[in-house]
Amino acid sequence: MDLTYTPEEEEFRARLRAWLAGALPALPPRPSPGDWPARRAYDLGWQRRLYDAGYAGLHWPVDAGGQGATPTQHLIYLEETEKAGAPYVGANFVGLLHAGPTIASEGDAGQRARWLPPVLRGEEVWCQGFSEPGAGSDLAALRTRAWRDGDDYVVSGSKIWTSHAEVADWCELLVRTDPDAPRHRGITWLAMPMDAPGITVRPLRTLAGSTEFAEVFLDEVRVPVTHRVGAENDGWRVTMVTLSYERGTAFVGEVVACRRVLAEVAREARKNGRWDDAVLRRRLGRLNAEFRALWRLTQWNVGEAQRTGGVPGVGGSVFKLRYSHARQELYDAAAEVLGPESLDPGREWTLDRLSSLSYTIAAGTSQIQRNIVAERILGLPRGR
């Protein structure tokens, strides 16, 4: 068991830090959350800088255009970029963390050449067309239909909770191609261009007031058969590849961010006198234990991924369960420190408190994660 970084890893960290120190002051001001076109431009601009500096697709394999970094280097990258206050992956989230790795792993040579470089260069944005009104955590219940018509699939149905749909160029779309097959067997993974005729995007307003995601209506949208990744009706397996990425390292930077916020909350409490409340002070101490341990668990999972050469698998459910609840407790404690000021939606911590409510739902609810832990890790019988 070793928690020290190798000289090569420390050198990587130092180089990255130096580059961030030069690159970040040159960034334009952050756009307002409601201005999607500006957010897209900002996020893509940052991605382009990463690309030019050789940090694009750090953990992607080299033959997919990435840097082939080790899991530890990726961990260092996520830690340092967050500490330096670099932009969040933002609009590039689906392309870099979901669709890209899925195409890299399951796509053919032509598909890799067509779709991967624009993601890495910050030229194209992807969104995720998985969830439907009747198929959220029960993803295999999806009903959006696709049928063959010559060289195209014709797609009809609707998707929901689609982040970045308003400004996306492509959608990683799950469709049902065989309605008679068992429900996990008749699904296909398609790359759908978002400018195709028949697509309507309707933004959804969240409880935080912003439009983070949208409903997407599909009315006989034509998608070329060459846009299918993996075999027809094999989309469930392809999707599991995607989800293992989503539940794996996606939260690493956020743990670093939570540790920073917790320290800020403690400083605020010292400033406004709430620190003298022993109950509150000890609650902050316990949260410190929580986020330190989550960071150690991250390092443990990265150590495992490094040894096995794999991506973090369902073990990510253990992490996600605890992290998503701890994040909500952090912002509850922040509100306690702020007192009535915490009711002002203009406060950063208040908005973060509201957005933290999505973490126990998105990417599989806590209840579904517990089922995964119970059945796939602990080997309990399948139930309902």
């Binding site: 150690r296 253990v318 517990r370 602990l378």
Partner: protein
Amino acid sequence: MDFQLGPDQKALRQGVRELLEGRFGRDALRAAADRAETPGEHVLDRTLWRELGAAGFFALRLPEAAGGVGQGLPEAVLAFEEAGRVLLPGPLIATHLAAGTVPGAATGETVVTAAGPGLVEWLDESDVVHGDTTGAEPLAVLDPLTPLHRLPAAPDRPPTDTRHTLLVSLLTAAEQLGSAARTCETAVQHARTREQFGRPIGAFQAVQHLCAGMLVRVELARAAVYAAAVTADPTDVAAARLLADEAAVRGARDCLQVHGGMGFTWESDIHLHLKRAWIRTHRAGGGTQSEEALADDLVVGPA
């Protein structure tokens, strides 16, 4: 960075597990608990204590030149985790920490205990006692396998050795982790086999979610305890202790719940895990001190 068990560490853990399960399995645990209920009976198994000494349990961290095994804190944590799994009784930590300074401690010939804040474990059955135990009064205690004395409040008691307190806290966390892992496995095993309403109870989501919660607490505590063993950093130890205490206490409670009425009986081992876990939460300042240390770290430590 390679934060995973090495081959030697895995072998050590396996070796200790086999030794303890062979020598202090369930029957031995129950026999010891029964013996403890008979007045005047000695509970501490001196033969077992010497066998642990011969296997290097107490001398694990002594340099080889001094007759020890020459291992570090991570290895000690793995050994104490195994002790926690089987609820091995006795002042294990105090004797381990006395190896090299108290003659006979390393070999298990001498049983050593130490006064903690307010309490001392195994006072009557120990050969050597560290710390001031003046005015110690026996305390009737829940766990038949942890005799306790209460110490009078002594505000002018000299401050305890902080390094010693740190190690007691870390090794206690390791024991809690082992107990938590065992109760999680016990609950899962029961949920797989016990049938109600015509199916294993583990197929019911309510039971599945209890078990999943247990595993999440164990895995988080494990990462924290192992990391604290590697860094020996006081804040890391405080964090490890809080999470391991939580994993052990809540794990035993949830294991009891999964067992239903059977879990509430004396024959079940689960109450022994819960009672021992409760006692361990009182060692070396307990949770309050850990929380305060972690709060201090937030304002003095790096942002």
